[in-house]
Symmetry: none
Subunit: 231 residues, 2 copies
Amino acid sequence: MKVHQFARGFWEHEPSLTLGCKRLRPLAPKLSNTDTISPPHHPVTTFDLKSFIKPESASRKLGIGSSDDNTNKRDPSSPQGQAETHIPGGTRWNPTQEQIGILEMLYRGGMRTPNAQQIEQITAQLSKYGKIEGKNVFYWFQNHKARERQKQKRNNLGLAHSPRTTLTTSPPFSCCVITTMDTTKRGEVVEREEEDSPLKKCRSWAFEYLEDQREEEHRTLELFPLHPEGR
Amino acid sequence: MKVHQFARGFWEHEPSLTLGCKRLRPLAPKLSNTDTISPPHHPVTTFDLKSFIKPESASRKLGIGSSDDNTNKRDPSSPQGQAETHIPGGTRWNPTQEQIGILEMLYRGGMRTPNAQQIEQITAQLSKYGKIEGKNVFYWFQNHKARERQKQKRNNLGLAHSPRTTLTTSPPFSCCVITTMDTTKRGEVVEREEEDSPLKKCRSWAFEYLEDQREEEHRTLELFPLHPEGR
DNA sequence: GCAAATTAATGATTTATTCAAG
DNA sequence: CTTGAATAAATCATTAATTTGC
């Protein structure tokens, strides 16, 4: 691996003096990290996070085994069927097929920037299919939205205009392909796990969730913060 | 009507504040931030949460319209969807003198992007001087950093530089920028300690906090992902 | 058939912009 | 006009695909 990491964006300061004086004092043994003090957060989202990880450091290993409280649970009974095993213990979120499916469905359904409450609910649902945190959901929407935009922009450049705006990308939502699914509701884990079952459930949940959200809008909405997360 | 959810702001809520809106409901047992923050032990805390509000598009509105979403989007005339949906009482943070003082001190001390844990601690401290939430702290750093940069850029342009490049903008952090503190910087602005304790304490806290942070860095840092958000 | 070496995707952060409260 | 808040755009970084040499 390489770790090149240089300060980005200095268009703002020239190489004039100081360079040499920059980092005297090691006090920031930040390994190879950025200059800031640490990891960050987000606008409203704040999630948190891991901080310094040294790519090559051997220390970080996945499975550390000790999973204290929250550790992952890697889906409960998930047959998942995939031969794969990414049980990462630790790095970035690696979405499962089901999770992606639900997210895309929500996206197609019109969701773009879910609020905290929605994120929480979505996360709760998705966690049935694999380890996931709220921030992952948040990021997914941010990235997906941005990348769909890029993609689209690229396409537009190629061919401008055209009255046909039918796009496969994000249909109005109402129409759904999902409808029927399985009437069993989003009941929790239905034990019958067939290969189709999981996906089916996902779709079902997403569909209902969107429906609920729509109703919510009509209704008043409670606003109040939700809980924090207890840390 | 609109009233959308507005969950904004939860990040960390203060125990008692409440905006006067409807926010009954105790919700989660958040820890009191003023209290000690050390929970069991979490490597880096995780804040989580966010809020984001989608004006109203998400579900319904979008649905009906044609897929304009990807079609053109980015219509210059229509900036972003934010706007509207403003809560009545929702007001924005109005920092007190003490709070600003501490924040600036931390900034001068090199802090630029505090992580969740740091934000939490800072917030706890600042809440002694007025209502404040974690996100306010986060935003403050974001904005301050960005605006210092702008300011600096403007200056550079105006003066075509000059050997003096005050690096107030983004010092790598290591350089001791901090020294100032109470050593009587210029003596002017500082009202000296005679003043009352408030400011003094602020400075004192900020100073010590930075010191602690530095030590922290030397010390180990655990790396490994961390837990999710609890709940 | 593998596994190092590349490359393509995409998760996670940071920076730039925008909007509006005061 | 200042600046808190929120989003979008740009980047960075890591993982999964894919390719390539053996």
